[in-house]
């Protein structure tokens, strides 16, 4: 099984995209999107993280086992947030 080497051109394009997305994050902040601001900032951050994971961290060209571990880490994080906010958001829904 040959080991894929990602080209410098691909790295450069990903780097350029990351810088543009960073500018977009700061730009969105000054647009004062109100309630949507956090969602926009987090959406951009997730896109940036996925670009880094897929290309800089080579996951796109890695084995299925690496996919399982990297996606698994994200799933555990979602369980942590999901179950905690399941509590915080639902507080006060039911009367004493």
């Amino acid at each position: 099984m040959a080991h894929t080497v990602i080209s410098i051109r691909t790295y450069a394009i990903v780097y350029l995209l990351l810088m543009l997305l960073m500018a977009a994050t700061i730009g969105a902040h000054y647009l004062h999107l109100g309630r949507m601001a956090l969602a926009a900032a987090m959406a951009i951050a997730i896109i940036k993280a996925v670009l880094v994971v897929l290309y800089f961290m080579h996951v796109r060209y890695s084995s299925h086992l690496t996919w399982v571990v990297s996606v698994g880490a994200f799933c555990w994080l979602m369980i942590l947030f999901g179950l905690t906010f399941n509590d915080y958001i639902a507080r006060g829904w039911v009367g004493e």
Partner: protein, 215 residues
């Protein structure tokens, strides 16, 4: 020497490389949990005290935080090029990109240290010297803003600690590259160190909007 790079318990060099990379990913999964706990704490308190967090965040410099984000993204790019040079068996290029990454990493820490000192000078360091006074106690209290700064210093502090560890690892890689220890066939230490450095970059990708850009 050619056979010395393959540990006896692996079938071939590809299996050894794959194992090293997977081991790093398992470690990074535990790191996701470590920072995940901090991010969760942050999220719970921001959800509870939104106005205090916005007030605290407005005292941070978006300008300096933005420059630091650019510096760190660039360092990730140069680290990717270092790994690329190692995979192609070009030790001089590897050393060059490692030095570039280390300079950028040190620049990040320098800017961060300047920010911390500036914030401490403004009396925003939590503890007995915390000098922030709320303009309107009915909307939010000084203690809630202090909580934002506890999380700010803890999260950026742990992130900076990871960067210092990363710089130490790169100093070792640089020495080993100078000794021509890495080749097209054997470069796992460079590759897994790259994974670590990119992970630290991802943590900052989330820290920057969450700490600096609260509205």
């Amino acid at each position: 020497m050619a056979n010395g790079i393959l540990a006896h318990h692996f079938a071939d060099i590809e299996q050894q490389r794959e194992t090293a990379s997977l081991g790093m990913w398992v470690f990074l999964a535990t790191e996701v949990m470590f920072f995940g706990g901090l991010f969760l704490t942050y999220t719970v308190y921001r959800w509870t005290y939104p106005e205090a967090f916005a007030a605290g965040s407005s005292h941070l410099s978006v300008w300096l935080g933005g420059i630091n984000t650019a510096v760190l993204l660039t360092s990730s790019f140069s680290m990717a090029l270092a790994v690329h040079a190692a995979q192609e068996g070009r030790p001089r290029a590897l050393m060059l990109w490692l030095v570039a990454t280390m300079i950028l990493g040190a620049a990040f820490l320098g800017i961060k240290a300047y920010e911390w000192m500036h914030e401490a000078h403004l009396g925003l360091l939590p503890g007995t010297g915390f000098a922030f006074t709320t303009p309107d106690p009915a909307r939010f209290t000084s203690r809630e803003v202090e909580l934002f700064f506890v999380l700010y210093f803890t999260m950026t502090g742990f992130h900076a600690l990871h960067m210092i560890i990363g710089l130490t690892i790169m100093a070792v890689l640089l020495l080993q590259a100078y000794r021509r220890r890495y080749s097209q066939v054997y470069n796992s230490p460079v590759e897994v160190s790259g994974l670590y450095w990119h992970f630290v970059d991802i943590v900052w990708i989330f820290l920057f909007p969450l700490l600096y850009l609260v509205s």
